[in-house]
């Protein structure tokens, strides 16, 4: 079983990211279930998308990833990575975008939302952690909208040839192929390019 959790804030595209992963898994003939928290949470609240893939041919029962069982957490925002941490399995992979999304509630309560201690904490707690300079990737791609796909690419790339994370189950080419089925035609090139930019950024790092 491969369990993936995508954590972010409403509007960051976690639902689409889950769809793309599911589409990639379908090509392998695995059973796939995805689930999202939607509804009131959309109004500026945190949103998580769960993707469960029976990569060993097993049947997927529960729609949601249980705590302590996520092989990968794709955090689209540092605070949301921290919130999702209890879901990560002991030797799991977390990829985390470093750009914060401010919380008006934090401003009202007089607390300052600082991400550095969060990133440090996540890096020290998790077995495999990658802080992603998402702003640089999105700038290079020319759009903030590609954040979700770029972060997916990072998770896929870091899982290549290792026995944690996605365990090499899905390749970069498969990811590109899958996203073609999920995004509007005029955005395919932009998203494929953002995959390349993300992979290139990892190579340089």
């Amino acid at each position: 079983m491969l369990n993936v959790l995508i954590a972010g804030v409403g509007g960051q595209g976690s639902v689409l990211a889950a769809k793309i992963l599911a589409q990639a898994a379908l090509k392998h003939g695995w059973q796939v279930r995805t689930a999202e928290t939607i509804g009131m949470a959309q109004r500026g609240g945190n949103v998580t998308s769960h993707v469960r893939m029976g990569d060993a041919g097993e049947c997927v029962n529960a729609p949601l990833v249980a705590k302590g069982t996520a092989d990968v957490i794709i955090a689209l925002e540092p605070g949301e990575g921290l919130r999702a941490l209890p879901y990560l399995v002991k030797d799991g992979l977390m990829v985390c975008a470093t750009t914060p999304i401010p919380s008006v509630m934090a401003d009202l309560s007089g607390e300052t939302y600082r991400t550095e201690p969060i990133i440090e904490y996540l890096a020290s707690t998790t077995a495999h952690f990658c802080a992603v300079d998402d702003a640089a990737i999105c700038d290079k791609a020319g759009s903030r909208k590609v954040l979700n796909v770029a972060m997916l690419a990072v998770a896929v790339q870091l899982s290549a040839g290792v026995d944690y994370g996605l365990r090499g189950a899905i390749g970069i080419d498969e990811l590109k192929e899958a996203l073609k089925n999920c995004v509007k035609e005029r955005f395919i090139a932009l998203n494929c390019e953002s995959v390349d930019i993300a992979v290139e950024a990892l190579r340089k790092a």
């Binding site: 689930a35 029962n61 729609p63 399995v89 401003d107 009202l108």
Partner: protein
């Protein structure tokens, strides 16, 4: 090979269309709304032929419309969220007495948690109360199959049938193999046939009661023999049984698989057990339950919301004098409220089966006292939401005057959050309108204000407005008209004139309706202009008798964002008055506290904050162009 990744609600729409549904009607409500939207999309694309689909003004209207269509021999589908069933309960209970002709299925989505609802009521209980069969899927795939069976049973026995998924089924996705196109089935018997049975007189009700009592045992037998109450066994001669329903069955199966895998890893034997999923809670499959319980000593029941299956097993065991101990919500063996989950089920199953292998779950998270905390993100009104201006204007107009602010159901319930803090009550759809009248009767010195959205206004406020006029209550209605049903995902309503069938109707004018109902003082205002909003609110509040202020500005989800506002860093003193006054999520304080900044990706340039800044530090391009003029 299944092809399309569909959300449960989307899949159920396909299932109903495949079953030949001819009329689909409902009222939006999370987690049910996507079903009607999917039918509408497929109708618009030409894939769903011959179907009529609509958002009705409320659930009662929808079900009554469908009752008519069904009596004419059409297959019909009703959709709502659990509290919508309360609104449609009047027609449902009587409809079950007079009966139906074309298959009549009610899709009612429950919301354990609750995640986006007022109550944790259980529609399985409602089905029992209404004496209507109910099917309870544990996965979207199962719900797909149940939807087709529901139509068949409904038609064969002349009874409405409820399909009751919960949020985690409605909003979970899986791959489905769906037809390219569907065709609505023609009417049975060439349409409506006159018959005294369609008229519910007391004598007819007495006779119908017998018909209900006669058909339910037949339906029960069919459920007993059908595939929706599967039983599985692990090991030999188990004495422990696990009973589960709905998504709890998926959690229990998942937890058992995890327990089994952990046992295998450490070389322990997985204890023997028997598991039954009850997919047909009413009429309860007593015989199947008895066969399942044979030789069992204890059973543990996993279900969300009410203890429906637990009651069923206690009753079955009692009537058969079985020495069976039933554990569940009633004895505190399972969660009595909120959602179940794999984690919780795992813990309880390990204890129940007395099976504790090491390392079932090994989490990366550690209990550390010094861990940083993630920022709080409660749901808030969107950046640029016009409701923010409406609430703020009414509060400013009231000043120190004692008042009670009745809220209602919709995005504007979020007006309760800090810093607006503009709602004192919220009960159910349309209730604010009439609750304000109650306050005014006993506390006449308070200004009694009722906030209501445009969709809710048409759904459930009209009778309340008539009551205020008739009984001369001194209240003010603040109608927040954002031209959509926003909270549930921007559905149209009678005030917009947009229909799901395509042709536009004449939008019903809210002010015209209020005037026609006898509200003499009505004022319109643009909520994004503070002076205008405050003046309008004052005028309405000062009027002796029922009055209304209609705040008109479209939902930010409907309009293209304008240029973001600009904060002059030299003028901004960093006082933070804007943040404390209106709490727009696009505004934040700089880390050094010297200035307020605007997140250009969130700000839609509504310009309301321009009116709030005491130093004139904010400017909005939209204001300079005079684009957002007063109404």
């Amino acid at each position: 090979m299944p092809e399309k990744l569909l959300m449960g609600n989307e899949a159920f729409a396909y299932a109903a269309l495949e079953a030949g549904v001819r009329v689909v009607a409902g009222y939006p409500g999370t987690p049910s709304s996507e079903l009607v939207e999917t039918v509408a999309k497929l109708h618009a694309s030409g894939a769903a032929r011959g179907v009529h689909v609509e958002w009705s003004t409320n659930e009662k209207a929808a079900l009554e419309l469908l009752a008519g269509a069904s009596m004419a021999g059409a297959r019909v589908l009703f959709t709502c969220k659990q509290v919508g069933m309360n609104v449609a309960s009047d027609p449902l209970l009587s409809l079950n007495y007079v009966g139906i002709k074309g298959g009549c299925v009610l899709f009612v989505a429950d919301d354990p948690g609750p995640i986006s609802s007022q109550t944790e009521q259980d529609t399985r209980r409602f089905a029992d109360f209404a004496k209507v069969p109910v099917l309870d899927p544990s996965t979207p795939d199962e719900g797909y199959a149940m939807m087709r069976v529901a139509f068949e049973i409904s038609e064969r026995y002349g009874t409405p049938v409820i399909v009751r998924p919960t949020t985690r089924i409605c909003h979970a996705s899986a791959f489905f193999d769906v037809p390219e196109s569907t065709q609505a089935r023609p009417l049975i018997d060439d349409g409506f046939q006159r018959d005294s049975k369609w008229i519910i007189f007391p004598r007819r009700a007495y006779q119908a009661h017998a018909e209900i009592d006669e058909r339910l045992p037949h339906i029960r037998q069919e459920f007993e023999a059908g595939g929706f109450n599967p039983v599985a066994q692990q090991g030999d001669d188990p004495v422990r049984g696990i009973v589960c329903g709905g998504v709890s069955a998926a959690y229990a199966r998942e937890a058992l698989a995890m327990l089994h895998a952990a046992c295998d890893r450490v070389g322990m034997e997985m204890p023997a057990y028997r598991l039954m999923q009850v997919g047909t809670p009413f009429p309860f499959p007593h015989d199947a339950a008895a066969v399942f319980a044979e030789d069992l000593e204890d059973i543990l029941v996993f279900e969300e919301l009410d203890h429906v299956l637990e009651d069923g097993f206690i009753q079955m065991a009692g009537s058969r004098h079985l020495a069976l101990r039933v554990h569940g919500k009633l004895d505190g063996s399972t969660l009595t409220r909120g959602e179940n989950g794999t984690e919780d089920s795992l813990q309880r199953l390990a204890a129940f089966l007395k099976c504790h292998p090491a390392g079932i779950v090994e989490s990366a998270a550690q209990d550390q006292g010094d861990a940083p905390q993630p920022p709080m993100r409660p749901p808030v009104l969107c950046a640029g939401c016009p409701h923010r201006g409406s609430f703020y204007a009414v509060k400013r107009a009231l000043g120190k005057r004692p008042a009670v602010l009745c809220g209602d159901i919709g995005c504007y319930t979020l007006g309760n959050a800090q810093p607006l803090d503009a709602i004192d009550t919220c009960l159910c759809m349309g209730a604010g309108i009439t609750m304000a009248q109650g306050f005014s009767v006993v506390e006449p010195d308070r200004a009694c204000i009722a906030f209501v959205g445009d969709s809710t206004f048409f759904a459930s406020a009209l009778t309340g407005v008539a009551n205020a006029v008739y009984n001369q209550h001194n209240v003010t209605f603040a109608i927040l008209d954002n031209a959509t049903t926003a909270m549930t995902g921007s559905q149209p309503h009678p005030g917009t004139g947009q229909t799901l069938m395509g042709p536009k109707s004449d939008p019903i004018d809210i002010e015209g309706v209020l005037r026609a109902l006898g509200v003499r003082c009505t004022v319109r205002a643009n909520p994004l202009r503070l002076d205008e909003g405050m003046a309008a609110a004052r005028q309405a509040i000062d009027y002796p008798g029922p009055s209304a202020v209609i705040f008109e500005s479209p939902c930010v989800q409907l309009v293209k964002p304008d240029q973001p506002v600009v904060i002059d860093q030299d003028t901004c003193t960093g006082c933070g008055a804007c943040i404390r006054a209106i709490g727009c999520p696009a505004m934040g304080m700089d880390a050094d506290g010297a200035c307020v900044h605007v997140d250009a990706s969130l700000c839609n340039g509504c310009g309301f904050c321009v009116d709030v800044c005491p130093f004139g530090a904010i400017s909005a391009p939209v204001r300079d162009e005079g684009g957002e003029g007063s109404c």
